[in-house]
Structure formats: C-alpha cells, structure tokens
Amino acid sequence: MNQDQAAELVKEVLLEIVPDADLTATDARVDLRQELELDSMDFLTLVERLSSRAGCRIDEDDYPRMATLAGSASLLAERT
C-alpha cells in the first residue's frame, strides 16, 4: 500500500465513524481527535478497522503517530 492508498483507506474509515465529516477541509496534519471530536471509543474503532483492512498490526505504542491523517497513512504504508 502506498501513501495515497493508505490515506484513502483512513478517510474511508473516518467517514464510517463520522458520516458527516468534511474531510476535504481537514488538514492532513491536524489532530484528528480534536478536529473530528473523536472519543477514545471512536479512536479504537478507527484502529480496529484500519488494522483489519490493511492487514497489519497496530499497537498502543503506535497511537501517538496516528494522531493525524498523514501520520496514520504513513504508518499503514510502512507496515503493508
């Protein structure tokens, strides 16, 4: 998976969690949890779906890197 594909996957999952999110206006480097008002449960859902669809392991130690869209995408791109 390259960076763009990974970013698309992240956006896809985010839209499932926050159906009304306008991701075109979301900066790839802002904190997703604040921007989209994700709570810890939403974040866990995000990790769970990304991990299963990308087929890679995501540990709690990786969570800080997943704070932004760009960070999540590059993590997935590295692991797959």
Binding site: P19, D20, S40, M41, L44, S52
Partner: protein, 466 residues
C-alpha cells in the same frame, strides 16, 4: 407512551415494528419513538398478542397514553371480535413499564387519602414509579375498580408462555410505507431532511450500508430536478408539525429544561479528588499488548467499572429522589455521550457493577455507537441510577457536572494527564485523573460522597480485581 428519560413529556411514534395479531414477548422491540433527543426503540413490557395499535406513526403522544392493546399471553384474540369489546378490554393491557404499581409509602398514603386506586395510575417516575404528581393528576375513584379508559396499568403477568413467536418483531421487514420504513440516516441528515420536509426514503444513501448522509440530503435539495419536498402529512414522521423546532433546538430545549429543573430543585454539593492511575495504566498496557484491537480496553471502561462498583458500595448515591430517596436495585450506569452536531444523551449500561470488564467495554462501545446513530432502547434511557460524564476525551482536566434529576449523583472524570506525584517521600511523574462527584444534599452528606470517591480511588489501585 413510556417515559424514556426524566426530561421527556411526550414522544412521536415513528414506526410500529409489530402488527395486530403478532405474538410479542416481554423485552421485544415493538416500536420506535422519537424524543427531543433521539429515536428510541421501545421494548414491550408484556407477553401476549398485539390486538390493536392505538396510535398512528407520526402522532405526538404524551407520556402515559396507551399506544397499543396487548392481550395477555393465554388469550388468543377471537376472530371477528372487534377490539374494544368487553372481552378484548378485559384481557388487554396497554404496554407498560412494570408488572405492578411501584410507589413510595408517602405516595401510597396520599392515594389512600384521596381514594385513588394506584393500579389505575400511570407512573411517570423512573422505572414506572408513581409520583405524588401522578396521584394528584389521577381521577379519584373507589379503590378496586380496574382501569377503564385512558392510561392503565397491567395486572401481574398472567399465564407464563415460553413459546416464542414464529417471527420476532425484529425480523419483520420494514413496512413499505415510505417514511414510516426504517431508513438508515445520520442524525444530521435526519434533521436537515425534517427541516426541509423531505422524505428520507427518497434520498439515496451513499454512506456505509446505504446510510443517508447529510451531504446526500443536501444534494437532493440542491438538485434542480429534485422531487418537490413533500408537504408534511400526519403520516410522515419526518415532518410532524408545520414549523417544529429543529432537532438541535429541541435538543437544547430538552437539555436546558432538565438542567434548569436540576439546578432549581437539587441542592448540589461538590467533591473532587485526584486519583493515581499508574497501576491502572500499567495493567491496561500489559493486558492490551497481548490482545487484538477489538478486545483492547480503554481507560474510560476501567474507570466506569470502578465508578459502578463504588456506587454499589455507597447505595445512598445510587437511586432516585422523587418524594424521598429510593435506592436503585442495581447500578444502571448512565454514560453521558456527546452527540455530533451538539447536545448530549446519557443512556445506561444496565447492571454495570456486575459486568466483567470486557463485557462492559463491549456494551460501552455499542451504546455510544447507537446513541449517535439514534438507535437506543427504552430500557437504556428510562432509568439510569447514577451517571458518569467523561469529558477527558475533550481535553479538560476536571468536570463538575449537573445532576440528572431524579438521580442524586453525577460522577465527573477528566483527562488522564501526567503530573508530578509524591508518594512514599519520593517525587515521580505519574498518570493521574481528577474524579469529581456532584451529589444531592437532600439524599446524602459530604461524608457519604467522600466515601464514594475514596472507594473509586481504592478500586482503581487494583485494576485486576475490576
């Protein structure tokens, strides 16, 4: 119409999930009701056969009004017997909360003095409890007369039936009647559609599983060849009144009215303590490391479990204040959930103190997801016994909440932060959380509240026991 929360005075029947002739078991979901806050799936409180639906979808009904007639389990409706005959009425019980009237001694005395038959009074308190106001509003009749017209309370469950209906209400396909059918849609989409008088069934959903998103509704409204927004008819729940308040306005009003009542009626007192989460965090980390994502626990789940167990230890804080304090039989832990687009709702995780952590975590995730998609059940909204608000996810360190009447306590959990911490004469950096308690001074004193917060602290020091 059951009371689906302390702030509810009326509800709109959105759709029926059963039809006359259907067999229903206690606990089956039979209807969907819209309140100011959410669409809620209403569970049946009786086992029997649906005889008559008294309320059409789209109708606004006050709390306490009968919605349907259900014949008791043993009685099969006779073919051709018109509903409303003595036979049908005698064996019929409007869907109700409880198997028998529940009232405090004070209320019973009041009823006796006024010649009111409690069995004929609809309780609007938590869990169907009859309040002073209910008795005062009830028609005064000689005791012993059964219910005849209007709100009625069922007699204790009759013949037990363990047979299951061939098709549960949940398996019925949605009625193919447009707006009355079950359309998956985000709350924002519903609101915009309702404001524009647009039938959601006409909107193509582009979200997951065909969920209609706000953008889909806006696209239909913008399109030049868009179907003319249907004029609201009584049959269309999407547009119940000529100029109804928007969902956001209704939500603000509902929250405002309840909190206004809380601050007017409840003498709050507030306590706060800082809890060392080093042990809990370490334990969670070790546990989660070995588990797939789906089974990982979030700190919030651990703290909710601790709050539930602490509430069980200090029963003076777990219950309801109506005309006096009524302790709750179990801890139905209300969880304040912030809704996207504004407002909040605090449905309960039932029997939270008795649930193993993984189960509590699963329920929490499910509850939060359904609160946001507007699919809660009546059992979850009708009688939380104590509520927790976790604003930590939104970044604040401490929250002093406003109690949800008729509850008597509200627990506030802040953000888990690293702070310098002195222990055993040593200074270190530890994760800590500020836990607060807002409690009703009519029901308890500060010393009782203090016991709750110390219990919470102690429980969080032994996470493996939770």
């Amino acid at each position: 119409m059951p009371s689906l929360g302390a702030d509810m005075t009326e509800g709109t029947l959105l759709e029926w999930l059963v039809r006359p002739g259907d067999r229903v078991d206690r606990g089956d979901i039979v209807a969907v009701v819209d309140t100011a806050k959410a669409a809620i799936e209403v569970e049946c409180f009786e086992t029997g056969t649906v005889e008559e639906l008294l309320v059409q979808p789209g109708t606004v009904v006050p709390v306490g009004a009968p919605l349907a007639v259900i014949a008791a389990a043993a009685a099969e409706p006779e073919a051709g017997a018109p509903a409303g005959t003595p036979h049908a009425r005698a064996g019929a019980h409007p869907a109700e909360h409880q198997a028998g009237p529940i009232a405090t001694p004070l209320v019973r005395r009041l009823a006796e003095a006024g010649g009111v038959d409690l069995a004929a009074v609809h309780g609007t308190g938590p869990g169907g409890r009859i309040t002073k106001a209910d008795v005062q509003a009830a028609p005064h009749a000689p005791a012993g007369d059964g219910p005849s017209e209007g709100p009625a309370v069922p007699s204790p469950p009759q013949a037990e039936s363990h047979g299951h209906p061939p098709t549960g209400p949940g398996t019925h396909p949605a009625e193919a009647d447009g707006a009355g059918g079950r359309v998956r849609a985000s709350p924002m989409a519903r609101r915009i559609a309702a404001e524009a008088g647009l039938d959601l069934a006409r909107v193509h959903g582009s979200g997951a599983n065909g969920t209609v998103r706000a953008a889909d509704v806006r696209a239909v409204l913008r399109a030049p060849a868009a179907p003319v927004p249907s004029t609201a008819s009584a049959q269309e729940p999407a547009a119940p009144a000529p100029s109804p308040p928007t969902r956001a306005e209704a939500m603000r009003q509902a929250v405002g009215a309840l909190m206004d009542r809380s601050k007017r009626e409840i003498p709050h007192y507030y306590l706060s303590t800082t809890v060392d989460l080093a042990e809990a965090t370490r334990w969670l980390r070790d546990r989660n490391r070995q588990l797939p994502v789906a089974e990982r626990l979030v700190p919030a789940a651990l703290m909710l479990k601790a709050a539930a167990v602490a509430a069980r230890e200090v029963p003076q804080l777990n219950g309801w204040w109506t005309d006096g304090f009524t302790p709750a039989p179990a801890v139905h832990l209300g969880v304040a959930v912030a809704l996207r687009g504004g407002g909040l709702i605090a449905p309960a995780i039932r029997d939270a103190a008795d649930l193993p952590l993984p189960e509590l975590m699963a329920r929490l995730r499910d509850l939060v997801a359904r609160a946001r998609s507007g699919r809660l059940r009546s059992a979850e909204t009708s009688d939380p016994s104590i509520t927790v608000t976790s604003l930590g996810d939104q970044g604040v360190e401490a929250v002093f909440g406003v109690i949800y009447p008729p509850q008597v306590a509200l627990v506030g959990l802040g953000k888990v932060v690293e702070r310098p911490w002195a222990a055993n004469g040593m200074l270190g950096v530890r994760p800590v959380v500020t836990a607060t308690l807002s409690a009703d001074h009519r029901a308890s004193d500060g010393a009782t509240g203090a016991r709750f917060l110390s219990a919470l602290d102690r429980l969080l020091q032994q996470p493996e026991e939770l």
